[in-house]
């Protein structure tokens, strides 16, 4: 993922040492990348895409679950968010591994008309069928999923935070949870925060047009999104991650309706820095 990861355990004096749990938690980031990387030809994701289309393939629990969650988001957004956008990303030049500079292979053999509807899952068998040759991209949620899995490893501790490249999951199971201050990056002034949230339990992810240039590409059309920053607060980091990407692609008012229908909170800014937020978000302001 080539992202800095920080795990903070605020351990009470009677709690066991956090070292082993942190080590296992860190292991999930390596594991998610190993399975879900779009750039590693040996990843399970790439091997799936390289398999003959139309054939059922049995997946491991991690990749199957990641795709299942992603398809849920594809469906909820009616395809505005689409994990088969990978080939088009590559055509637009997003085809290099950030870490190694290695160029993504295999994009040319995909069917440009493929969409998420060409993916079929068989739940009991954990099988997947790709009905057309396509390239999957789980980049919008893999980091969030790794954060959630890392958090599972810290279950023995009352209070912790997992922070990876600007996405955060915080947990405080004490009777009187103490919220942490979480800044929302200012989309136009580097180093500044535009809002501060107080959150004791939950995940916060922000999608913007700043960090790697305009890297979010909607499959629908070539229009640039009108939001410049979209923050989602959700119970799980994978959903906060995916829905912040998905809602970023929408007109801000529509994004708020979408997020409220998904029972999560959102805060968006448009080019004029006008603010749009769900009702629940207002309760989180510091």
């Amino acid at each position: 993922m080539d992202t800095l990861v920080s795990i903070d355990v605020f351990a009470g004096e009677t709690e066991p040492g956090a070292g082993p749990g942190i080590e296992r938690a860190m292991g999930w980031f390596a594991e998610v990348e190993r399975v879900c990387s779009r750039f590693d030809p040996e990843s399970e994701l790439r091997r799936l895409c390289a398999a003959p289309s139309g054939e059922p393939v049995v997946l491991g629990e991690l990749l199957f679950s990641a795709i299942r969650i992603a398809l849920g988001v594809c469906e909820a957004t009616d395809g505005l968010f689409d994990i088969t956008v990978g080939a088009r990303m590559a055509q637009r030049g997003f085809d290099r591994n950030f870490r190694t500079g290695e160029r993504l292979a295999g994009a040319s053999e995909t069917d440009p008309g493929a969409t998420w509807r060409d993916i079929r899952l068989n739940l009991p068998r954990r099988e997947i069928v790709l009905r057309r040759p396509l390239l999957l991209d789980l980049g919008a949620l893999a980091k969030g999923l790794a954060i959630d899995l890392a958090g599972q490893e810290l279950g023995g501790h009352e209070r912790w935070a997992v922070y990876a490249g600007g996405d955060l999951l915080v947990h405080d199971s004490r009777e009187a949870p103490e919220p942490l201050s979480i800044g929302i990056r200012h989309p136009r002034q580097d180093g500044d925060v535009i809002e501060t949230l107080q959150l004791a339990n939950g995940a916060v992810c922000t999608s913007g047009d700043y960090e790697r240039g305009e890297h979010i590409l909607s499959p629908g059309n070539g229009d640039r999104p009108t939001s410049i920053s979209c923050t989602v607060v959700a119970p799980t980091a994978v959903i906060a991650d995916a829905l912040s990407t998905a809602a970023f692609l929408m007109e801000p008012r529509k994004a708020l309706r979408f997020l409220e229908a998904q029972a999560v909170d959102g805060l968006l800014f448009d080019r004029t820095l006008r603010r749009y937020e769900t009702r629940g978000m207002r309760r989180l302001h510091g």
Binding site: L4, G12, V35, R47, W116, G183
Partner: protein, 216 residues
């Protein structure tokens, strides 16, 4: 086939090949709120976690044949800074060994940092200060490069936390907000920033490394 009569959505096929709507389908009813996606993700996280990451790949003969032994365990730390009930590992998953890799986990060996100038003799504050007077240097890394921070402790208080080395691809002025936060809170910035740049992570690591030497 029945599945073609249901053009929208991925087909979640039951064992008996009958298509059924996914569990969050009710969300499409107008005006109805549901946390279907959230519930789906929570269940998936638990089931993946239950399998464990050494076993998350499918078994032999399927796509995921890579041996579990190839997992790179990211470097982490088990050391608890003596004056802090906080344990932190800052790392880059699958980090390739580089001369700077040790600074990516600043708390790993907080007592073995030898790059910092020793505190001036006789300058230790006798007050109830948390920190020993002196100046301390720490280095933090990000994928965009390194940041060196110098912490000056005077009278037991942090009086300066400036960036004294900027090896990132972007201007280090980005972290100015965090510098002010260190001065006002007298602590490592705990201010998580959603959507943050990696440079703020690097600065945080640098301050943490420097301050770990300043504890009495």
């Amino acid at each position: 086939m029945a599945k073609d009569s249901w053009p929208n959505g991925p087909l979640f096929v039951d064992e008996d090949e009958q298509p059924r709507r996914p569990s969050w389908w009710q969300r499409k009813r107008p005006g109805r709120m549901t946390n279907g996606l959230v519930a789906l993700s929570a269940a998936a996280i638990v089931s993946v976690y239950a399998v464990g990451y050494v076993n998350t790949s499918a078994q032999e003969g399927s796509l995921a044949g890579a041996p579990a032994a190839s997992i790179d365990t990211a470097p982490t730390t088990a050391a608890t800074p003596p004056d802090s009930r906080r344990v932190e590992g800052v790392t880059r998953p699958r980090a390739t060994p580089t001369p700077t890799s040790s600074s990516e986990a600043p708390t790993q060996q907080p007592r073995q940092q030898t790059t910092a100038p020793t505190p001036a003799p006789g300058s230790s504050s006798q007050s109830a200060a948390t920190f020993k007077d002196g100046s301390y240097v720490g280095v933090g890394s990000s994928r965009h490069g390194q940041i060196q921070a110098t912490i000056v402790i005077s009278g037991g208080k942090i009086t300066s936390a400036s960036v004294t080395g900027c090896g990132t691809r972007y201007p280090c002025s980005k972290v100015n907000l965090l510098v002010n936060e260190v001065l006002s809170t007298q602590a490592i910035p705990t201010h998580y920033v959603s959507g943050a740049t990696d440079s703020s992570m690097a600065y945080r690591g640098a301050v943490q490394q420097a301050l770990s030497q300043a504890h009495a």
